[in-house]
Every structure is written in structure tokens, then in C-alpha cells.
Symmetry: C2
Subunit: 284 residues, 2 copies
Amino acid sequence: MAAKEKITVIGLGVIGGSYATALKKLGYTVYGADCDAETVKKAVERGIVDDAATTAEAFIPISDIVVIALYPKQVEGELKKISGLLKDGAVITDVAGIKSHFTQRIESILPEYADFVFAHPMAGREKKGIDYADDKVFKGANFIITPSKRNKKSSLDTIERLAREMGFRNVMRLTPEEHDKIISFVSQLPHAIAVALVNSDDRQFDTPRFVGDSYRDLTRIANINEKLWSELFLGNKDNLLSSIREFEKYLDIIKKALENDDKAALEEEFIRATKRRTEFNKEL
Amino acid sequence: MAAKEKITVIGLGVIGGSYATALKKLGYTVYGADCDAETVKKAVERGIVDDAATTAEAFIPISDIVVIALYPKQVEGELKKISGLLKDGAVITDVAGIKSHFTQRIESILPEYADFVFAHPMAGREKKGIDYADDKVFKGANFIITPSKRNKKSSLDTIERLAREMGFRNVMRLTPEEHDKIISFVSQLPHAIAVALVNSDDRQFDTPRFVGDSYRDLTRIANINEKLWSELFLGNKDNLLSSIREFEKYLDIIKKALENDDKAALEEEFIRATKRRTEFNKEL
């Protein structure tokens, strides 16, 4: 077996910090970089990296794999900084929750010798920052890779192997367009709904005293990182708008049934939803 | 201390069965009635009642408290059957999730000597039937009483005491109109949203393979008892329609922000939602 790779994680927030934690436990040499000096200090003190600094420059030339765990808009700038320092054959990967426009932009500035494997670890958290980094969130979660024509098979396999080693259960390969379409439905639409639900409270009553599990479940993700999620929403706006409109169509069916006192139509919607949600339980 | 009351629970489904279980454990004499013979048999065999039958007739004349744990539309018919058999001073209560029109209808047929305390134990379950009866669901849950002008103070206090003994944490008194307004927002709107979300899936992809916690949380209650919930929705349609419309206004703000690439407007919505949801966590 070849020696374990050396890996640099750029951005030690909740996701980057969790990558570092998981990879270090797996026996990789892990370097960390974060613009926040306090975060760098914590990463070293807590032993979730072998070394860390406020820039990645010193680590890139000796790293086989570089994980850029920054907000999507920051990836381009970071890539420009590190491109010239990359070790021959190094694999770069990311964690961005949007892919289509994002990967086009990144590929347009990517040097020919660099191999960038676009990836989305589906293990988001409400909290941000290294203090909430925890490799347990990866256990059983989904991981999507969106291969590009330029990717070497070996690079794709390397990132897939890391994902599995870190505990992800389903590692799937999709086109960037497929990724963004499904993500707009399973992740972004629920966040839009949760935010709208919480904000639509007219607060005539002291809501928290009256809620049950349903409201609590539906609004948990209304606690949302505004900088990151506004980027994710806008970076996938066409898909998200069409998911919202589709959702509204089905909410309209319920509204019309109420307006027309149409019990049969309501029951039909409820039966369809129950059937789908039950199938769902079986698969999960 | 006076002797413990004798209590008849009519309808031994998931809520009635849970009442019986809780009350029996508390040392009350509990009689059960359910139109389903199999349910009656299970209730007796499992010892969650002292006696049970397919009709309540034999138990009503010796009961101090009668809990009607049926669907809202069935309460009227049941009340007509038992009214003439009630013990002097008996207190009747219900578990219906809607109150305004419902209580008006019930009071219009209620004999003058009967005292009906309208109550809503906020501990709904996705599952139905006695097999899912479990008094643990009451622990820490909310309980709303909607007093009527006809209620004796002692009757209200009796039902409040039972609720607390069964483990409910907040026992609140509201007008039927207040109850229905708040319930349309904290309970019915989330159910409408969950159903519409699951039904709006175009199923172009194998959704279950891609979901994370957010979609799972938001759709759990899409598994819904269609007979009961279509009654609850239609029995509170004006409030629910206005809650849905208010929710749609806030979803529109998100849509407009997406259409206009307005990052600041999106962030503003996210910040407001996060602030509210965080306050919320503190209170709960």
C-alpha cells in the first residue's frame, strides 16, 4: 500500500473542520488554513490538524490533495492563489452546495495541469465555525461528485475513497445540472419554506408556547447562515424558482379544496403524500 | 381526599388509548368504549382499562368524567347517545383539534345539566389505532382548554388537573377563536406545507437517495390520517386559508429576491428567520 496522502484543508469552518477531524483520525497528514488566526490556533491545539496557518501557501507544494472548504464565491480567489504552488498530480476538491454555474466558472480559470474534483458532502449544519466541527455528521450521509470531462479517473476514485473513509454512505456521481436540480428540491426548497413559515408568523400570540413537534420540525432549518445560503440560492436560482413554483401548485390544490369544501380532493392529496412518505421510510 | 373519579373513554384510538393508559396508571377506574371489537379486546387484555365494551352505555351512568376521543364529526352523534345516561354532575370532555364551529355545534345540542369542557391535547401522532397508544407522548406537551360560558369552574379545574397529572406541561385557557387561529398556524399550516412539498416532487430522480435531514424533517408529517385531517382542515378553513396566504406572501418575498438577484433582501429574510428561530430555542 502506498503511503497515505498529505491533505490540506482550506477553510476550517464547520465543514472544513469536520473534514480535517475525520481525515486526521484516519491517519492522513492534515494541514489546515484559515484566515481567522483564532481558528488556526484552535485547530492546532485540538490536534485536528498536524499544522495550520492563516494562509495555505506553505502547505500546498507538499500536499497530494487540497480541499477548498470555503463559500462558493471565495473558491475562485483561493484557487488563483494556490494554482501556481500545486504539487504535480495534486487533486483539488471542494464542498460547494451548488455546481452548475459554479463549476463552469472554476473550470474557466483552472490551469491545465490541475485536476479539480467537484464534490458536495450533504452534511450541512445550522451552526458555523470550527467549534461545531464534528466528523460524526458524515456518518451515513450522502456525498455527490459531479465529474467533469477533464477529471482523471484516478482523481475521482481518490475523492470517492476519502468520502467513504470519512463515513459517507451513498457516494453518487451526477452531472452538475442534475445535482443542482435535485438539490433545489431536497435542500433549498425546504430551507425557503422554513424561512417563509417562521417569518409569516404574525406573532399575535406567544407562538413558542403553542408549538408541537410539527412546527418545531418544519422550522429547525430556519436557523440559517445568511451569507452562505443567499449565495447558494442565487447560484441556483432558476432551479429553485421552478421548485418553489411547483410546490405552490400543490399548495394551491389544498387551498382550492378548502375554498370549495372539497373533502374528497383534500383526502386525495393526503393519501398521495402518505403513500410517498411511507415508501420513503422504507428506503431510508 | 375524595375518592378517585371513575372515567369513561369513548374511542380507544391512539389518543383515547393514550388517555386510558395514562389515567389507569394514575389509579383512576377507567372504562373504555370502541366500536371496534378487536380494539375492545386489546384494551382489556393489555390492562389499559378496567372494563370495556363496544358501546359506552353501561359505563356512562357510573362515570364522573367522560372523555370523547372521536373524530370531531362523530362527537355530536355520540353525545346524543350518552346525554340521557349521564350521572348527575358528570363532566364531559373531548380531544378535538378544532374548536370554534365545533363547540358552537356541540353546545347547541348539549342538555342543560351536562357540563362539557372543550379540550385539545396537543400530542398528535402520525400513527392511528390502539397499538400506538402511549402515555409518554403527553409528557411535556401542551394542552389547551377553551372554556365556555356554561362551564362550572370546578369542571374546568378537574380537566386541567387531569391534564397535568397525565404529564402535560403547559395547560392554557383560550377562547375557541384564539385556539383555532393559533392552531391553523402552528399545526395545520405545517401539515399543508409538508403534504404539498412531498406531492410536488416530480420524481425525475430517486429522491430518497438524495435527501438530508432538512427534507426528512419537513416531510415527516406528510404521513397523515386523511379522514381526520380533512375534517380538521375544513372545520377551520377560514383561519387555515389566511395562514396559507400569509405564508405565501413571505415565500413571494424570497421568489422576488431570487428573480431580482437581490442578495440583501434574501439575507434580510434569513436573518429575521434565524433570530426568531433562535429566540424560540431559548423558550423551549
